[in-house]
């Protein structure tokens, strides 16, 4: 078996066993602490430009299946795990996780001391790295890592966005006869969803609450969006730094007040920028499925799924226009806000889950309710 090498910009090198494709990739090295849902993580476009370290040591156990992908293909740049399973065991599995990643040309480093790696990322912050699936000179790989452009200032969202506008009408399908998903509501809203790297489960959840969705490219103008006569506009998650997305923020500003707007993750950051706020880069981000978020409106805590490296500075948000609705209880960062006078709300975390707890599905219902109310307005 080939040797795999992960080289970080600070000179640290981890060696392991190579699975997946025997290629070399590079990116920002980040870690995710979710126990379940590796396939969803692989295929979440928000991981574009990132080499993902999973803290759950046993990865690949249940293989991969066509239903659990969050987009057309994996978007991670490479995978780093402690123990990668060559055997897939699950009634829905159609191929091994290894096969799934190889097929998509992605290298996997297994047998890595991921805990030591995560401790390093936690203390030093995320770093650039190079992952080689076929050995090589560690010193050169470190140099390569140092040469990678930083994530800050990169517009990755436009890069991963759809090129063509398309319709989406597939709802949530139950995972087995025992899944209590419930029946989808009859379609009654037209939602235009900006694709900055949108996850399929967001689209499914929108359909579930009664939307038929038109997905539009990241650079679509507000005018073109409004021309589609939406009942509401959705701003999706996506990779990279929100700061360079000034054009998109400008379009978002134009939508506020014209139609209900709901944003998730990067969508929140764009709304933040649109409303005059500032974003900043978190030291090592929030990536996992166990983050406690307090909903200040209900005073209840939701366990949330998260994946973001940037956040909106709550102090930069204008008090007059915005109410801060959700706070992360681990580090008090901003997790959600709504407009005080216009039908606009957003969260930094992932209420569509996938992977992660379903505690926050209600936000899709809230969006539906908001659209229903807006429809009634003269």
């Amino acid at each position: 078996m080939e040797k795999s090498i992960l080289a970080l910009e600070d000179g640290t090198v981890f060696e392991g066993r190579s699975f997946g494709a025997p290629t070399t990739t590079s990116g920002e090295v980040v870690f995710n602490t979710s126990i379940t849902g590796y396939q969803e993580i692989f295929t979440d476009p928000s991981y574009s430009g990132q080499i993902v370290v999973l803290t759950n040591p046993q990865i690949g156990n249940y293989g991969a299946n066509p239903d659990d992908s969050e987009s057309v293909r994996p978007f991670i740049e490479g995978l780093v795990v402690r123990d990668f399973s060559p055997l897939a065991s699950n009634w829905r599995s159609e191929e091994g996780a290894c096969q799934f990643l190889s097929r998509n040309g992605l290298p996997v480093a297994s047998d890595i001391d991921t805990r030591a790696l995560v401790r390093r990322l936690r203390t030093r912050g995320v770093m650039r790295g190079v992952l080689s699936g076929n050995g090589g000179d560690p010193v050169k790989l470190v140099e390569q890592a140092r040469a990678i452009p930083s994530m800050s200032g990169l517009d990755l969202a436009t890069r991963v966005s759809t090129l063509e506008q398309y319709k989406w009408s597939e709802g949530v399908s139950p995972v087995s006869e025992s899944d209590l998903t419930g029946d989808p509501a009859a379609p009654r809203f037209h939602v235009v969803a900006y694709d900055f790297g949108i996850k399929r489960n967001i689209l499914r959840r929108l359909v579930h609450v009664g939307a038929h969705v038109t997905v539009v490219p990241a650079l679509t103008t507000a005018k073109d969006v409004l021309a589609l006569k939406p009942d509401g506009v959705f701003l999706s998650n996506g990779p990279g730094d929100p700061e360079p997305l000034q054009h998109q923020a400008e379009q978002v500003r134009k939508l506020i007040g014209k139609t209900p707007v709901f944003g998730i993750c990067l969508g929140l950051q764009l709304l933040g920028l649109a409303l005059g706020g500032k974003t900043f880069k978190l030291k090592f981000g929030h990536r996992g499925a166990n983050h406690p978020v307090l909903n200040r409106l209900t005073n209840r805590v939701e366990i949330t799924s998260q994946n973001h490296g940037f956040a909106v500075d709550p102090d930069s948000m204008p008090d007059s226009a915005v109410e801060l609705t959700h706070i992360n209880l681990n580090d008090q960062t901003l997790e959600g806000f709504r407009h005080k006078s216009e039908p606009v709300f957003c969260v930094q975390y992932h209420p569509e889950a996938s992977p992660g707890p379903h505690d926050s599905h209600y936000l899709f219902d809230d969006f539906a309710a908001m659209m229903a109310q807006f429809q009634k307005k003269p």
Binding site: F14, F31, T33, S34, I35, T36, G37, Q39, E40, T55, N56, P57, Q58, N61, Y62, N65, D67, D68, R82, D83, S85, P86, L87, S89, N90, W91, R92, D111, D113, T114, R115, A116, V118, R119, R122, V175, S176, E177, S178, D179, L180, G288, A289, N290, H291, P292, L294, N299, R300, V301, I303, L329, N330, D331, A353, S354, P355, G356, P357, H358
Partner: protein, 1076 residues
């Protein structure tokens, strides 16, 4: 919501004695709850009949009642203490059942006691099968088709409808007691009858089988604001069909996709909300059809459970502690995560390691019981292991079990493989590994076991790698080769066997190559945040997080998995050693692998290493920590087995020298010591061959007591009356060697046995307790009831015992604790055994005397003298500690879990737990102890006697006492005629072989409330066995010794004259404090 201020005093009910299905995990949960509530400023009142628990330490509650756990006594406690509330959810099924009973009897209302945690309605909904089924149906959760029946016919009809096999679960029994799987009509009939009888409500659930499905558990917590979190997911390695307490389990779940896991999470939360558990921890069990994904809910426990203890240890999230705080009004987000300090407890722990739990069984102690696992729990203990991978955790778990077997299959029969894979037994895991060694494929094994192929692949890969290692010469091993093997979890001991080199060579070679163990932290968050609690496990990763401190420190070796003879008593001692070290300003470092215990709670010691108690793993810790001392005398036999090797390798052992401990076990050296001291012992010898054993026995004269060296709990100890039995024993029952000969003693029939615990600083000796056994010599000391103070022993004999004890302690240079067992026969005092270490009776003596023996012992081990510690011993530094009341300790047996086993007592210990009864007189204390032990003395009715000829004279006297107390008498022919001759009125009953209706019919028909049946000596006849078995089955107290019968008569007298009264330990010992 902050905590409630309207509550001042809270009652907690413990779970009573350790029994199968309810063990020291509830000491752990109760202790956490007591500590948490006290820390929040509440007064805590506690009822628990088990003196061996940490929770019954007087420091942990304001009022500690070691009293029977029933409505009568609980009401008495409530009447005296007037608590504002009762926390029902931390004392296991026993605590929950009593809470329900108190509520239903109107006692809680009468005294204005609020039920915290779960309300009556919720408890009923969760525990009553029918209500539960309706509730689950209402929220759309699937369950197996089932029906609740109260008669056999209805059950058979249902089984015919859904088809065999069917699963039977009696309502409201512990650990699934009385349940089973029926594959045909006959079995169904048998199990149904048993289940209906055992169920306190006379009901059994019969349901569609989900055998072979994947089994899961989720640990859930909820606060008053309806914030819900999952603490841990657990996947069973053994598929459905084996009780989860008897299953190997893995955390977190390994073979579920996120969608499937979230489906289960949603179901668990829906279940919790529908059942309406207001606050606290609950456990929800699921089964998933591996082919279709159909998920059904099996059951939910609206309380802290065995799995909660496991989940707490597996994640570092203290479920019981948090549950207690939620019960008094806190919200999850108001409580900090102790480990990260900065983040709240309202989150879901994430693991970057794998945890494996393996149960430990002891079928070998119950000949006649079939070692087959099913829906009724049979294991007596468990181990947990943490590894960076499943393989590492599994192999660590296997060696934590201390089964004495090597950690791979070596003595198995290939022909038996199919049968051993199909039928779940304690051997199944070993047989799976053996099958892989013999080239079986994953598919073949999967077909027979229905286990998930992922687990099987992991095991097979271990086997393949082991074969590769065997084929590699030791000299050719590279650093990478060693690292790979060690990261997989393979032990040095296994490697040394594979290469036929010493363990030492393996260790030094790999260390030379730089392959060393490091330690990782259990931190609830997969390293996302810094951890402040050193809760550690070993691995072979690249970075060590142990961060040992520079201060003075002492390591304590725990006692490993609970087993008969080595249970919670030793955990009690280890925990106290830890507390004492901290008080003496020394850092305490705990090493143990038992997830049920208080010792493996991360806040019991300054540092916790959750590790197997093997030489390799203990050395790894010692190398890293470099402790100033190592304590081996508190953990039972497990650490003692490591004492000498550790000492040889330079680990500083404090307290009594391991050589002295060894000397006491060495027959020749010890015999010489006794001769020198002129202390008599029963004539004895040792043997290392069959012939030698027979010669020794002949020389000593029968009966003789034979046993192996170095065992605890009388494992394989027998009394033999003839040469044939000696031969059979030597050939079949025992392993011996030159180093470990078989020990043979002349057996002193009808002697009185005495246990002594003492403290010694090398000069002064303080005798903590002289305990008189109620059963005579020959019954294992752990299985005998005993009493403090000794009340039937002459002063002259007591003096002799005191002198001998002092002589022995000095001669063995004991520093710390020592236990001596004596037998008194015809006025002569013989030493039976000396153990220069903490004994099983230490917690009981501590509770009875009010002196914390382990704490004093630790002080002595740290170099202090008894005089320096006089403030802990009420000023006393010599003589015998006084006791102000009568304290009876009684054993609790698991015979109801092993139908077909003869419950007669003998030299092999079989009790799983103990209780204590407190009284103004012996009879009262004994009656309370028997009540707590689950064999209450009847207040009236018929006493059935059958005794052998030499016991008849005494039996007549006892019968007279019972008659005068208003009991009626029944007896078998011989005994009856003795009674009639003495002028007593007695009904004659047939023996089993004499015709019908016989003694068994009498018991079955409810015609006897107490059975006194003494053995005829040399052989146990089937007649006796069946009577004793029937008595156990029908829950009629059955006394098998004459001395026990004497005690019963006094207890009966107390029942009539003494009122129901209770004392807290605090008030019992308060008077001493003022005089000291």
């Amino acid at each position: 919501m902050p905590k409630r201020t309207d509550l001042k005093k809270i009652l907690i009910i413990g779970s009573g004695p350790i029994v199968i299905g309810q063990a020291c995990e509830f000491d752990y949960s109760g202790t956490q709850a007591c500590k948490a509530l006290r820390a929040d400023g509440y007064e805590v009142v506690l009822i628990n009949s088990n003196p061996a628990t940490i929770m019954t330490d007087p420091e942990l509650a304001n009022g500690t009642y070691v009293e029977p756990i029933n409505v009568t006594y609980a009401e008495e406690v409530i009447k005296r203490e007037r608590p504002d509330a009762l926390l029902s959810t931390v004392g296991g099924q026993t605590g929950l059942n009593l809470s329900v009973a108190l509520a239903e009897a109107g006692i809680l209302d009468k005294y204005g006691v609020e039920l915290l945690g779960a309300k009556i309605g919720s408890i009923k909904k969760a525990e009553d099968r029918l209500l539960f089924k309706d509730a689950m149906k209402k929220i759309g959760l699937d369950m197996p088709q089932s029906q609740l029946v109260n008669n056999v016919d209805a059950g058979l009809k249902f089984a015919a409808k859904v088809g065999y096999p069917v699963v039977l679960r009696p309502s409201f029994t512990l650990g699934g007691s009385g349940g089973g799987i029926a594959y045909n009509k006959e079995e169904c009939e048998e199990i149904l009858q048993r289940g209906i009888d055992l169920s306190p409500v006379g009901e059994t659930l019969i349901e569609e089988s989900v055998l072979g499905w994947k089994e899961y558990e989720l640990e859930v917590m909820r606060d008053l604001a309806d914030n819900c979190i999952i603490i841990c997911s657990i996947e069973n390695f053994d598929p459905m069909g084996v009780h989860t307490g008897d299953s190997i389990t893995v955390a977190p779940a390994q073979t579920l996709t996120d969608r499937e896991y979230q489906m289960m999470r949603d179901a668990a939360l829906a279940c919790l909300r529908e059942i309406g558990v207001d606050t606290g921890g609950s456990n929800v069990q699921f089964a998933i059809n591996p082919k279709t994904g159909r998920m059904i809910i099996i059951e939910m426990n609206p309380r802290v459970s065995r799995s909660s203890a496991l989940a707490s240890k597996a994640t570092g999230f203290p479920i019981a502690k948090i549950a207690a705080r939620l019960a008094v009004g806190y919200r999850l987000d108001e409580i900090a995560n102790d480990i990260t300090r900065k983040t709240p407890a309202c989150f879901e722990p994430t693991l970057d390691y794998v945890v494996v739990k393996i149960p430990r069984w002891q079928f070998e102690k119950f000949p006649g019981a079939e070692p087959v696992l099913g829906t009724q729990m049979k294991s007596v203990g468990e181990v947990m292991a943490i590894g960076r991978t499943f393989q590492q955790a599994m192999l660590k778990g296997i060696r934590s079990l201390e089964t004495g077997k090597r950690d791979s299959a070596d003595k198995f029969d290939e022909l038996l493989i199919p049968q051993r894979l199909i039928t779940p037994t304690p051997e199944r895991l070993s047989y799976i590994r053996f099958a892989f060694e013999r080239g079986w494929t994953i598919e073949q094994v999967q077909e027979l076991t229905a286990m998930d192929p992922w687990f099987l692949r992991q095991l097979r890969d271990i086997t393949l790698h082991e074969q590769e290692l065997k084929a590699t010469p030791f000299a050719a091993m590279t650093a990478d080769g060693f690292r790979r093997a060690k990261r997989m979890g393979i032990s040095d001991s296994w490697l040394s066997g594979a290469w036929n080199v010493s363990i030492h060579d393996v260790r030094s070679r790999r260390k030379e190559l730089g392959v060393k163990a490091v330690f990782n932290r259990v931190d609830t968050c997969a390293a996302e945040f810094e951890s402040f609690t050193p809760y550690l496990y070993s691995s072979f990763e690249s970075e060590c997080e142990a961060e040992p401190a520079e201060r003075k420190k002492v390591m304590i070796l725990g006692s490993g998995p609970n087993r008969i003879g080595q249970g919670i008593e030793f955990d009690y001692c280890c925990c106290h050693a830890s507390f004492a070290l901290q008080e003496f300003g020394v850092e305490s470092i705990m090493v143990n692998c038992n997830p049920e215990t208080v010792s493996t709670d991360y806040d019991t010691s300054d540092r916790l290493y959750f590790e197997p108690l093997t030489l390799e793993e203990v050395l790894n810790i010692a190398d890293t920590e470099k402790p100033d001392g190592l304590i081996v005398q508190f953990g039972g036999q497990t650490p003692l087995n490591l004492a000498l090797p550790l000492k040889k390798l330079g680990v500083p052992i404090i307290g009594t020298d391991p050589e002295s401990i060894d000397l006491a076990e060495d027959r020749k050296l010890f015999g010489k010591l006794l001769d020198d001291l002129q202390i008599p012992s029963p004539p004895n010898g040792t043997a290392t061959s069959v012939d030698e054993a027979i010669a020794v026995a002949r020389r000593l004269g029968f009966p003789v007591l034979i046993r192996p060296s170095f065992v605890l709990g009388g494992r394989a100890m027998v009394i033999t009356y003839d040469e044939d039995s000696v031969r059979r024993y030597m050939q079949e029952a025992v392993v011996f060697s030159q180093d470990r000969p078989v020990l043979i003693d002349r057996f002193l029939e009808d002697a009185v046995e005495v246990d002594v615990d003492c403290l010694s600083d090398g000069d002064d000796v303080l005798i903590a307790g002289i305990m008189e056994h109620i059963e005579e010599a020959g019954v294992h000391s752990g299985d005998s009831s005993c009493v403090l103070p000794a009340y039937g022993i002459a002063q002259r004999e007591l003096d002799t015992i005191r002198q001998h004890t002092i002589q022995l302690a000095r001669a063995l240079k004991v520093v710390g604790l020592m236990n001596v067992q004596y037998a008194i026969k015809d006025g002569a005092v013989y030493v039976l055994e000396v153990n220069p270490r903490a004994s099983r009776t230490v917690p009981y003596v501590s509770k009875a005397t009010g002196v914390p023996l382990p704490k004093v012992a630790v002080g002595l081990m740290l170099g202090k003298k008894l005089k320096d510690l006089a403030h802990l011993t009420y000023g006393q530094t010599s003589g015998v500690l006084p006791v102000d009341k009568f304290f009876v300790k009684s054993p609790v047996f698991p015979f109801n879990k092993f139908p077909g086993v003869d419950p007669a007592l003998g030299p092999e210990m079989r009790s799983t737990g103990e209780v204590m009864g407190v009284g103004e007189n012996f009879g009262e204390a004994f009656a309370k102890a028997q009540l707590s032990a689950g064999t209450p003395m009847p207040a009236g009715g018929t006493v059935f006697f059958s005794v052998n000829d030499k016991h008849k004279a005494v039996a007549v006297e006892l019968a007279r006492q019972f008659e005068s107390l208003g009991y009626t008498l029944a007896a078998t022919r011989g005994t009856a005629s003795a009674f009639t001759a003495a002028g007593l009125k007695c009904k004659t009953v047939f023996k089993v072989n004499e015709g019908r209706p016989n003694a068994v019919d009498l018991i079955k028909g409810g015609g006897a409330q107490l059975v006194i049946y003494t053995s005829t000596g040399a052989h146990s006849f089937s007649d006796e066995k069946i009577i004793r078995r029937t008595a156990v089955f029908y829950r009629v107290p059955c006394i098998t010794t004459l001395s026990g019968a004497r005690a019963a008569a006094q207890a009966a007298a107390s029942l009539q004259k003494d009122p129901v009264r209770v004392w807290s330990l605090q008030e019992i010992h308060a008077s001493k404090k003022t005089t000291a």
